[in-house]
Symmetry: C2
Subunit: 308 residues, 2 copies
């Protein structure tokens, strides 16, 4: 695997919690500098913005874009136009249209663009996908429920347009489902519960189907108290696959197949390194498209105001 | 141009107003039968559904799907799987995900799929596109305003999830803009006014930009009284192009270039014939993607109940 020099754009919670340890564990990835007008990291050259960082460090060949969603497009485009490889945190854009332009841009520039869906790197996902590949799915139940006050403390953006509300975690479930289910699936009906003081849903019930008529139900909820439920149960040809704890635990027909700690972001950086080495891009918009479909086609109901 | 035998799926207002005269004017298109559980046409074999129609008429090689949006996917897929070419009325699906599957399906079956954006066949559109192709756009103003009571009488579906509200006509403007503007463009901000008794907006103000930072503003409104306004003004390199009356009138720098009656659906069937003859598909999801982006990223405000 060829080495690469990385610049971080945006230095928030997700970078400190996840990106830094994963980068440290990726031997061929060398962190060079960061760009953020409000934050910096100890012992790392820090710049106000992407352009200043790239001007000062021409040795940077790749950047991770970890800023708030609505800022990502222009930063990612600027980096691509300067010939840098780009990793985009999830979701890859505030709109689907801007992601399409980034895909075209990366192709034109001959650099790698990677839309990172971290949940796809959970320990049980690859094997679940493999097991399902040749099967026909009859029924899927997804439950993705967590306490927003615990997992997104003070994150007011989540309730603003583009913040996606409960689809911010829900898109992780959709990123797994779109990866492991052997057929594409389509929204039939959605009920979005939107707090009276918010723009985005606090809970959602979704019904999908696939070309073979499978029944696929997802329940997303931010009002959970206690530990989160991040589970998926898939009924296929008389067997039952359960991917639980966000993908850390895989059980097939009551047999425990995998139970491991998550190292999703390590998997993510390993894939980024691989894409760069192979001069490839990987941008699957399916999870974001499913969310956009839910907003386009969902029935909104007003529910009580959310007070953190 | 090779001849083809056509079956109509869905026989509603748009079929009677637009498809029938256009089909009659397309010499190589032969109308064979229709499928609709509630309606039929004089002197044309009529069936309850698509399957019955195709069983009875194996000579049918192409179908036009003109049913309500939420029914189109399964009908289009069934037709494609039987090796038929498919024309989809706009929008090509209730969700973006199902359109992706139809694209894959048509490719697999080696048949033509045509997502019809009728407004792109308005008299002035092709020349506007040609004129703009090599230019840089600085500013665009779109005004798409009509009286919903006149243009969609009794169409309650328009206020239901998936009905799109004012984006039902607005998507026509977006289908023109995505065709003629020389760069892709992206939503920056949207304000959606939703009647308190509806699920979809009655008006929308949208701000887009393109990679060069153009200012693109669109105002959609269903509360117009009097004649509709279907206008687009584009400022580019010191010149001003105006495409008005839904694309029937093209003026560049105060010079009248085109003023013709619309024959959009004739253009549509001519393109369908061409696609079939050349074994090609044409499915541009950009207009539907822009609408989904507006629902995903727009700020919703409640406004007074709509009473027809």
């Amino acid at each position: 695997m060829s080495d690469f020099n990385l610049g971080l754009v945006g230095v928030g919670k997700i970078v400190r919690d996840q990106h830094l340890p994963a980068i440290a564990a990726t031997p061929n990835c060398h962190l060079v500098a960061s760009a953020d007008p409000f934050a910096s990291l100890p012992d790392l050259p820090a710049y106000q913005d992407l352009e200043a960082m790239l001007d000062a460090h021409p040795e940077i060949t790749a950047v991770s874009i970890c800023t708030p969603t609505h800022l990502r497009y222009s930063q990612a485009r600027a980096a691509l136009m300067r010939g840098k490889h780009v990793l985009l945190e999830k979701p890859p854009g505030a709109t689907l249209s801007e992601v399409e332009d980034l895909i075209a841009c990366a192709k034109e520039q001959g650099v790698s663009l990677f839309a990172a869906w971290h949940s796809r790197f959970a320990p049980g996902v690859a094997q679940a996908q493999q097991w399902l590949a040749e099967r026909q799915v009859q029924r899927v139940e997804v439950e993705w429920k967590e306490d927003v006050r615990v997992w997104h403390p003070g994150q007011a953006w989540i309730w603003q347009p583009g913040g996606m509300g409960v689809f911010d975690p829900g898109i992780n479930a959709l990123s797994i489902a779109t990866a492991i289910l052997p057929q594409p699936f389509f929204l039939q009906q959605a009920r979005l519960l939107v707090p009276s003081n918010a723009q985005t849903p606090i809970a959602a019930d979704l019904t999908f189907t696939d070309p073979q008529g499978a029944s696929i139900e997802a329940a997303f909820d931010f009002r959970q108290s206690g530990p989160p439920t991040w589970d998926m149960h898939i009924h296929s040809d008389g067997s039952r696959l359960s991917l639980t704890q966000g993908g850390c635990r895989l059980v097939i027909d009551d047999e425990l197949i995998i139970e491991e700690e998550e190292r999703e972001y390590q998997g993510l950086y390993a894939r980024f390194a691989e894409l760069i080495a192979n001069k490839r891009s990987e941008v699957d918009v399916a999870p974001l498209r499913q969310v956009a479909d839910a907003f386009l086609y969902g029935h909104r109901e007003s529910t009580e105001a959310f007070i953190e």
